[in-house]
């Protein structure tokens, strides 16, 4: 079992808002600040577009960690979208914690378009945390694992 865990490459889904965090990821790229290849980004217009079902679905399909990145509170391109996202995610994460699911598997980070370094740092740290947690067993659908 130990051997298997070492080989396990965790899968991380990162939802990034188009205006700040996706641009921050672009800046990380153009600054050549690397982060693990198992982080895959999905572009959404705003952090408030992210439905809790997207996050649960990602876990179901085998993601080991899901992170949501948006503009810093107060800087939302749509003025207040990230404030709603913040409440929704707080409640969702708290519920997952209540159900006994490792809270470290979910995360929200505010990354501005100027914070390429932060984006890379956040992704490296998150990937490390998920690596340490190992495979997502509590929120996966075995049928979705090939």
């Amino acid at each position: 079992m130990q051997e298997l865990n070492k080989e396990h490459k965790p899968l991380i889904v990162a939802f990034c808002c188009n205006w700040c965090s996706y641009a921050g990821a672009d800046l990380a790229g153009s600054s050549r600040l690397s982060y693990p290849a198992n982080v895959k980004i999905i572009r959404v217009p705003c952090s408030c577009r992210v439905n809790p079902t997207f996050i649960l679905k990602a876990f179901q399909k085998g993601a080991d960690g899901v992170i949501l990145c948006g503009c810093h509170p107060g800087d939302c391109h749509y003025t207040s979208g990230n404030y709603y996202a913040r409440r929704r995610m707080t409640l969702l994460f708290s519920m997952l914690d209540y159900l006994g699911i490792e809270r470290e598997r979910t995360r929200v980070e505010w990354v501005s378009a100027a914070e390429g370094a932060k984006f890379s740092k956040v992704m490296n740290e998150f990937a490390k945390t998920i690596c340490e947690l190992g495979e997502n067993k509590r929120l996966e659908d075995l049928r979705c694992k090939d």
């Binding site: 999905i42 959404v44 408030c48 003025t79």
Partner: protein, 663 residues
């Protein structure tokens, strides 16, 4: 059935050095619905775009996936290419294999695998794309300029010149701003009033320009082309329409103790006053803190004296609502407070003044009528010491980390003016660096040194203290490596400048971003210096960063050009990615309406056929596509999933999640 074309870009070697582009295009060719998959050196080049266009026609493509740089870079380019080949521009998806792959991963195998997954994800999303068309919204042909300093005045004049109506909203009782307080201007030494006041008069006389002084922005709604702004006209207790500015009231007013803020509080003014002789509008105003009538009901002299019965002690604040197509922010600056700089003794010694106070002392219309006198005993100073960089370039937390840009030049100006008018006065200037980039600027500074004999000392002042009647300035001379103790009659501090504090509230109302120093952020530091990141909001003058007058005026005109360009359009293309409710699912619960930041959602009662000739009237959500900006807040609030966002639909995002996770 979709027919998808995949185009993998090498970006020269930017992508191809770490991603096996041949393999990516070969693997993606096997994906369902993909009918052609190619790679090319530069997809964004004319040849690359031609490849896309030709493939669309040749293979009857219904959708295009480009694996290239970030969509933020070339999505628009490729959309245009699709459109010119007759494909709906929204039938395009970009897989970002440069910023997210080749530039951050070194291992070719790993990078290639990730590029393939991102390509598959884009294909998965594209399968569910539908053609979108952007709506149009009309443009209100009127601009708002917030701030009536030289920046706002110039922007307003230029916009009006092009034939559009402009309102200037100024928080103080007159337009003119800081420039109206200046004596002379560098590098030509012409008098500030002589060049500014004609422009102020032009504003007042231009029928396209409406000036709202003593007014503040209260609320902002809407979006580019369609802003609705609430403006608070504060009570000035004088009917602007009736007052002729004759000034009789100001002479009769018995309460004369109010500090004259136009003269930097160096002297006093009556409770009813006109800020300065050339004020626009030339209308009196009552300071309610000072007015005896307003404070305790006893007086009323001004009302008795007023020949036009313009005084109105009952006047109240008034809110006016106006609509604009574009908004210019020109809120300007103020000198920083010097409370953190006790070493210079500003709050202890009367004869330590700021440069802006010195401007008023030197100004013929100022408190000393232009005679150089020091404030403590009104004696003419024989030795004046200027200290530059007071609070500028300060990372210790006491001041501002940036260079205030204008101080080197105005200090040289002050030194020259003093030496010109009072040749027997000794003038010392402590400087860290003298920064003079600008046409004829260095020549100006050298003239101060060479022709006017100003004593420039490379070094900084550590303390200012009093000895008898005089001040002693203790500082270092780094060139001679000695410490100096200079007896001075007067000390002038070149205080750093900071954005006017009102800008924070305004930035919040306008939802535009602001940096750590409270300067408004431009959309692009080099290529979009006068646009804010929020569409329809433009930046003029020091609110965006420290600037001198020539630079402010050029930026103000640039800003006006952008506004004119916007107002010249009759309609604006709206965002195509808008929300919409599935009326069969919508329950009319109003949750989405509550979270929409744009007020784009309303509810209508709609009749639905139930079959068998029966009908039912139901309340359903209706999205105004001209107003919807496509954030998606409503989609998550909707429990029934009736609300969805075009271009980022639930199905599309779920398909992306699937595509990423199944690998």
């Amino acid at each position: 059935m979709q027919r998808i074309g995949v185009f993998v870009c090498w970006c020269g070697s930017n992508i191809s050095a770490t991603v096996d582009v041949e393999k990516v295009s070969a693997v993606l060719a096997l994906e369902p619905n993909v009918v052609i998959s190619q790679n090319y050196q530069y997809m964004c080049s004319e040849n690359g775009q031609a490849l896309i266009r030709n493939s669309i026609k040749e293979h009857n493509l219904t959708g295009v996936v480009v694996c290239s740089c970030s969509p933020r870079m070339h999505e628009a380019t490729f959309r245009r290419a699709c459109e010119s080949a007759g494909l709906n521009p929204y039938m395009l998806e970009v897989a970002n294999i440069r910023e997210q792959v080749s530039w951050i991963h070194k291992d070719i195998e790993e990078a290639t695998e990730k590029a393939i997954i991102l390509g598959r994800t884009a294909i998965a999303k594209l399968r569910l794309n539908t053609p979108l068309t952007a709506g149009e919204s009309p443009v209100i042909k009127r601009a708002l300029v917030i701030g009536g300093g030289i920046a706002g005045i110039q922007s307003a004049l230029d916009i009006a010149e092009a034939g559009y109506e402009v309102d200037i909203v100024e928080k103080s009782p007159t337009i003119g701003g800081n420039m109206a307080k200046l004596d002379k201007t560098f590098p030509t030494l012409d008098c500030a009033a002589c060049i500014l006041t004609p422009k102020m008069v032009d504003c007042a006389q231009n029928e396209k320009i409406d000036i709202l002084t003593f007014s503040e922005i209260e609320s902002v709604k809407g979006f580019v082309g369609n802003f609705k702004v609430g403006i608070r006209k504060k009570a000035r207790f004088v009917n602007e329409k009736l007052c002729t500015g004759c000034g009789v009231c100001t002479q009769k007013c018995p309460s004369k103790r109010g500090l004259n803020d136009f003269n930097m509080n160096l002297n006093t003014r009556p409770a009813i006053y006109i800020p300065f002789a050339q004020a626009i509008p030339n209308v009196a105003i009552i300071d309610p803190e000072q007015c005896l009538k307003l404070k305790n009901g006893k007086c009323g002299l001004c009302a008795m004296q007023c020949p036009t019965k313009a005084i109105d002690y009952t006047q109240q604040d008034e809110i006016v609502e106006r609509e604009y197509g574009a908004i210019v922010v020109a809120t300007g600056y103020k000198p920083i407070s010097l409370e953190n700089f006790n070493e210079y003794g500003y709050s202890t010694y009367k004869d330590v003044v700021t440069s802006l106070e010195f401007e008023r002392i030197m100004n013929a219309a100022g408190p000393t009528s232009g005679h150089l006198e020091r404030p403590s005993d009104h004696k003419q100073p024989k030795v004046i010491t200027f200290i530059q960089c007071v609070g500028s370039r300060d990372t210790s937390g006491c001041g501002k980390p940036y260079c205030s840009k204008i101080c080197c030049m105005y200090t040289a100006k002050h030194a020259m003016l003093v030496r010109e008018k009072y040749p027997d006065t000794q003038v010392n200037i402590f400087y860290i660096d003298v920064r003079t980039p600008g046409k004829n600027y260095d020549e100006f500074y050298r003239r101060a040194v060479e022709q006017y004999g100003v004593n420039y000392i490379k070094g900084m002042v550590g303390k200012v203290y009093k000895e008898g009647d005089n001040l002693v300035v203790q500082g270092s001379d780094l060139i001679n490596n000695e410490q100096l103790l200079i007896k001075s009659d007067m000390v002038v501090l070149a205080a750093a400048i900071e954005p006017d504090p009102s800008v924070r509230k305004i930035a919040t109302l306008l939802t535009t971003s602001i940096d750590t120093n409270n300067f408004l952020t431009e959309a692009h530091a080099k290529l979009k210096p006068v646009e804010s990141p929020t569409a329809g909001i433009f930046l003029s003058g020091v609110c965006q960063g420290p600037k001198d007058i020539p630079e402010t005026v050029s930026q103000a005109s640039a800003c006006a050009a952008k506004v004119i360009g916007l107002l010249a359009k009759d309609k604006l293309k709206c965002n195509a990615s808008t929300a919409g409710a599935d009326e069969m699912l919508c329950t009319g619960c109003s949750l989405c309406e509550n979270v929409c930041p744009y007020g784009a959602i309303t509810y209508i009662d709609k009749e639905f056929r139930l079959g068998g000739g029966r009908t039912e009237v139901r309340r359903v959500a209706s999205v105004n596509p001209a107003v919807c900006q496509g954030c998606g807040a409503c989609t998550v609030t909707c429990p029934s999933g009736a609300m969805d966002l075009k271009g980022f639909s639930t199905k599309q995002i779920m398909a992306e999640v699937d595509a990423i996770c199944k690998n």
